[in-house]
C-alpha cells in the first residue's frame, strides 16, 4: 500500500493516466501541487505567460491529438483568467481537464484572499465539475474528470482543489483507478438499428442528397469511415467550419464548407437538396441562416452522440442518437449489395452542382499585381503550397480565419484548428504553441491578424523558454477587418473603433524576444519571405504581411435569408 499526499497523488495520477504535458501557471493555492510536480520528471509542465494561453494550448493539443488537454492554475485570478479558454473548449466540444487550486476548505465562503467560486463561475461552460472534499478521493475524482472529458460528447471538466487537500503532511492510500463508473452517465455506444435502416433506405431513394458533417466526425475519429461511406455512395459532401478535414477537401466529391462564409456550391447544394445527412453537426445559426427558410425541399437525417443537439434548431425527420463511427459502419454494411433506386438522378445532381462550381470558378477574388499590396487570400494559397497542405493550421478570429478556411485545403482531420463556436480572438497563437510542443516534427502555422495577435502575444516568451518553432503569419490589414466588413455592409462604412491605430513595429517586437521577423509589403516579396519562414522547422518565425484592408470575405450569406441567399462579391448577389 502506497501512502501519498494529495499533491503527490495528483502528480502520480497524471503519470498513470499517461499525461505527458500540462499547461499552467503557479500561485499560492496550487503550490503544493507545483512542489509535487517539481519532484518528478515524467509529466512536463509548460509555464505559460497567461492562464488563458494555458487553456488554448491544452485545447490545441487536444484538437490535434484527440486526447484531453490538461491545465493547472491557481485560485482566484488564475482560475478566472482560464475562463475564456474553458468556454472556447466547451463550445467546440473539446476534451480538457482544468485543475484549479482553491483556498483552504475552512476559508471557503469567507471572501478569503484569491477566493473565487470557480465551480459557480464556470458552471454554464463545463461538461461537469468537481470540488475535492477529501484528499483520499483525488484519484477517483481525477479519473472521472478525464473519463467525462473524453467520452460521449467531449468537453472541459473543472476540478476545484482546496489547498488543504494537497497538504504534504496528510497522506492516504493511492491506487490508480483503471476504470470508473458514473451511474447517471452512460453515453450510447451504438445507434438505433431501425432508424439507421430507415436512413439508408432514404439515401438509396434520394435524388439530390448531400452529406453535411461537422466537428463530431473529427472529435470521434470517424473520418476514415465517413470517407468510405461517402465514396461508396458517390454523394456530394459539405462540412461545417469545425468539420473541415473530416473528408478530404481535394477530393472531387467535396464541396468545401458551408454556412455564412461557406462555398457557393455548398450553400446552393444544401438549399436544393432533397436529403441532408447530417453527422456530428449541430445546425447552428452560422450554418443554417434563417431556419424557417432552411433547405425547403430536404428531408433530414441527423446523427449525433448528443440527443440535445438533435431537433434543437432544425427538426430532424430521422434522428439517430449514437457515435458517428459505429453508426456510419452500420450504414456501410447495410448498403452492401444495394443500389440507388433512381440511377439517373445522381449524375443529374452532379451536373447541377458542377454548374454551380463553374459559375464561380476564377471569380473568387481579384489577385494583386506586382508592386501592389497582397490579397490575404493569395497569401493563404501560397502558404498552402509551400507547406504542401500538410501543416497543422491554427487561426485567430476574423477575416484571416475565414480566408484560411477557404483557401487552405485539408485532406486530413485534426489539422484545421480554429475556435468556431466561441470565436475567440487570441486562440490561434497559444493553440499553435501547444500543438508544436507535442508534435515537434510537424509544421505548425498560425494565421493571425494584427488585432487578434495582440491578445495573446505574451506567449512569445513561453515559446522562447521552450524553443517552440511555430510559424506566425500575420495578415496585417491594420484594421479589425471582420468588424470593419460588417460596418461597411451594415453601418454605411462608419468604422467605429475597428481601426487599430498605433500598431507596434512587429519586427522589433518579435526581435525583442530573440526571434526572426520578416516584413512583406508587396506582392513581389512574398515568395522569398515564405522560403525563409519555412526554411527551418524548429525556428519561430513571424511573417508580418501587409494585406489589402479593403478586402471582404465572400460569399457571405444575407442575414435572415435562406442558405442560397448570398453576397458573392462587393457587387454580386445571388
Amino acid at each position: 500500500m502506497e501512502l501519498l499526499s494529495g499533491a503527490d497523488m495528483i502528480a502520480r495520477f497524471l503519470q498513470d493516466e499517461g499525461v505527458e504535458r500540462i499547461y499552467g501557471y503557479p500561485g499560492g493555492a496550487a503550490l503544493h501541487i507545483y512542489d509535487a510536480l517539481f519532484r518528478q520528471d515524467k509529466v512536463k509542465h509548460i509555464l505559460v505567460r497567461h492562464e488563458q494561453a494555458a487553456t488554448h494550448a491544452a485545447d490545441g493539443y487536444a484538437r490535434a491529438s484527440g486526447k484531453p488537454g490538461t491545465v493547472l492554475v491557481t485560485s482566484g485570478p488564475g482560475a478566472t483568467n482560464a475562463v475564456t479558454g474553458i468556454a472556447t473548449a466547451y463550445m467546440d466540444s473539446i476534451p480538457m481537464v482544468v485543475l484549479c487550486g482553491q483556498v483552504a476548505s475552512h476559508l471557503i465562503g469567507e471572501d478569503a484572499f484569491q477566493e473565487t467560486d470557480i465551480v459557480g463561475v464556470t458552471r454554464p461552460i463545463v461538461k461537469h465539475s468537481f470540488a475535492i472534499k477529501h484528499p483520499s478521493e483525488i484519484p477517483e475524482v481525477l479519473k472521472k474528470a478525464y473519463y467525462l472529458a473524453a467520452t460521449g460528447r467531449p468537453g472541459p471538466v473543472v476540478v476545484d482543489i482546496p489547498k488543504d487537500m494537497t497538504a504534504p503532511t496528510e497522506r492516504y492510500e493511492y491506487v490508480y483507478p483503471k476504470k470508473v463508473k458514473i451511474r447517471s452517465y452512460n453515453p450510447v455506444t451504438r445507434g438505433h438499428s431501425g432508424q439507421i435502416k430507415k436512413a439508408v433506405d432514404m439515401m438509396l431513394k434520394a435524388r439530390r442528397p448531400v452529406f453535411y458533417t461537422g466537428g463530431g466526425i473529427v472529435t470521434s475519429g470517424a473520418s476514415e469511415n465517413l470517407t468510405a461511406l461517402v465514396k461508396r455512395l458517390g454523394f456530394p459532401i459539405t462540412t461545417t467550419l469545425m468539420g473541415i478535414g473530416s473528408y478530404p477537401q481535394t477530393d472531387a466529391q467535396s464541396l468545401g464548407w458551408l454556412g455564412m462564409h461557406g462555398s457557393y456550391e455548398s450553400n446552393m447544394a444544401m438549399h436544393h437538396a432533397d436529403l441532408i445527412i447530417a453527422i456530428g453537426a449541430r445546425f447552428d445559426d452560422r450554418v443554417t441562416n434563417n431556419t424557417s427558410k432552411f433547405c425547403p425541399t430536404a428531408k433530414i437525417v441527423h446523427v449525433d452522440i448528443d440527443p440535445s443537439s438533435i431537433s434543437k434548431t432544425v427538426r430532424a425527420d430521422v434522428p439517430i442518437v449514437g457515435p458517428a463511427d459505429s453508426v456510419i459502419n452500420e450504414m456501410i454494411s447495410l448498403l452492401q449489395g444495394r443500389e440507388m433506386a433512381n440511377a439517373e438522378a445522381l449524375p443529374e445532381w452532379w451536373t447541377t452542382i458542377d454548374g454551380w462550381r463553374a459559375e464561380r470558378e476564377g471569380k473568387l477574388y481579384e489577385a494583386s499585381q506586382p508592386g501592389e499590396r497582397l490579397k490575404p487570400q493569395e497569401v493563404i494559397e501560397a502558404v498552402y503550397h509551400i507547406t504542401r497542405g500538410e501543416a497543422f493550421v491554427t487561426t485567430d478570429v476574423g477575416q484571416h480565419q475565414m480566408f484560411a478556411a477557404q483557401y487552405y485545403k485539408f485532406d486530413k482531420p485534426n489539422r484545421w484548428i480554429t475556435s468556431g463556436g466561441l470565436g475567440t480572438m487570441g486562440f490561434g497563437f497559444p493553440a499553435a504553441m501547444g500543438i508544436k510542443q507535442n508534435f515537434p516534427d510537424d509544421v505548425v502555422v498560425c494565421f493571425t491578424g494584427e488585432g487578434s495577435f495582440q491578445m495573446m502575444m505574451q506567449e512569445l516568451s513561453t515559446c522562447k523558454q521552450f524553443g517552440t518553432g511555430v510559424k506566425i503569419i500575420n495578415l496585417n490589414n491594420g484594421t479589425l477587418g471582420m468588424v470593419r466588413q460588417w460596418q461597411d455592409l451594415n453601418y454605411k462604412s462608419r468604422h467605429a473603433h475597428s481601426y487599430v491605430e498605433s500598431l507596434p513595429d512587429f519586427q522589433k517586437l518579435i526581435e525583442a524576444y530573440g526571434f526572426t521577423a520578416l516584413k512583406v509589403e508587396h506582392h513581389d516579396e512574398l515568395d522569398a519571405a515564405l522560403e525563409r519562414t519555412f526554411a527551418d522547422n524548429d525556428e519561430l518565425v513571424f511573417l508580418d504581411i501587409d494585406v489589402d484592408p479593403r478586402e471582404h470575405v465572400y460569399p457571405m450569406q444575407v442575414p435572415l435569408g435562406a442558405m442560397r441567399d448570398m453576397l458573392l462579391s462587393k457587387t454580386e448577389r445571388t
Binding site: R123, L148, S308, S311
Partner: protein, 163 residues
C-alpha cells in the same frame, strides 16, 4: 402546455444549482420547484413545473438528462399522475369574517392549524388549481401571507421512478 417534470438527482453539493442554472441559461421557464431527499440518502427528488410547447419540453428534458448529476427523470404529464401541493395561508379572522373563513376552510377541506384572536393559519393541500381557487376565495376577506411548497407529483399505478 404546463408540464410536471420529476427528477432523481445525485444528492451532491452543487447539483441543484446545475439544474436551476440550466433553466436560466437556456431561457427555460420554472413555475414551481420543489426538492427534498428520498428514501435513498444518495438521491434527492426534484419536481419542477414548466410551461412550453413540445419542442421546448423536449429540449428541457434532453438538457436535464445531459447533466451528470441527473440520474433519471420523468415528465409526469405524459401519463396519469397525482399532483399535490401544500399551502399555508394566514388570513384575517376578525368579527363576522371569522366564521366565513371557517366555512370556506371546510368547503375546501382545508384545516385551521393555528389560531390567534385576529388570525387563522390555514393548511391546504391539493393540485395547484385548488390552491389558486382557495386564494381567490380568501382574497376579499384578507390574506396576510402565503407559503406554497410548489408542486410535487408521482405517477399513478405501478409505474415508478427509481434507479
Amino acid at each position: 402546455m404546463r408540464h410536471i417534470i420529476s427528477i432523481l438527482l445525485e444528492n451532491e453539493p452543487g447539483a441543484l444549482s446545475r439544474v436551476v442554472g440550466l433553466f436560466s441559461q437556456r431561457n427555460f421557464n420554472i413555475e414551481t420547484l420543489n426538492v427534498a431527499p428520498t428514501e435513498d440518502p444518495s438521491l434527492s427528488r426534484l419536481t419542477v413545473t414548466t410551461e412550453g410547447d413540445d419542442r421546448v419540453i423536449e429540449q428541457i428534458t434532453k438538457h436535464l438528462n445531459k447533466l451528470i448529476d441527473v440520474v433519471k427523470l420523468v415528465d409526469l404529464t405524459e401519463g396519469n399522475h397525482i399532483e399535490r401541493e401544500l399551502m399555508l395561508v394566514k388570513v384575517k379572522a376578525l368579527g363576522a369574517s371569522r366564521d366565513e373563513v371557517k366555512r370556506t376552510v371546510d368547503i375546501f377541506r382545508a384545516q385551521i392549524v393555528d389560531v390567534t384572536p385576529s388570525v387563522y393559519t390555514v393548511q391546504i393541500t391539493g393540485d395547484a388549481g385548488k390552491l389558486d381557487a382557495f386564494v381567490q376565495a380568501m382574497a376579499p376577506i384578507g390574506i396576510l401571507e402565503v407559503a406554497r411548497t410548489g408542486v410535487s407529483g408521482i405517477s399513478r399505478g405501478d409505474k415508478i421512478l427509481s434507479l
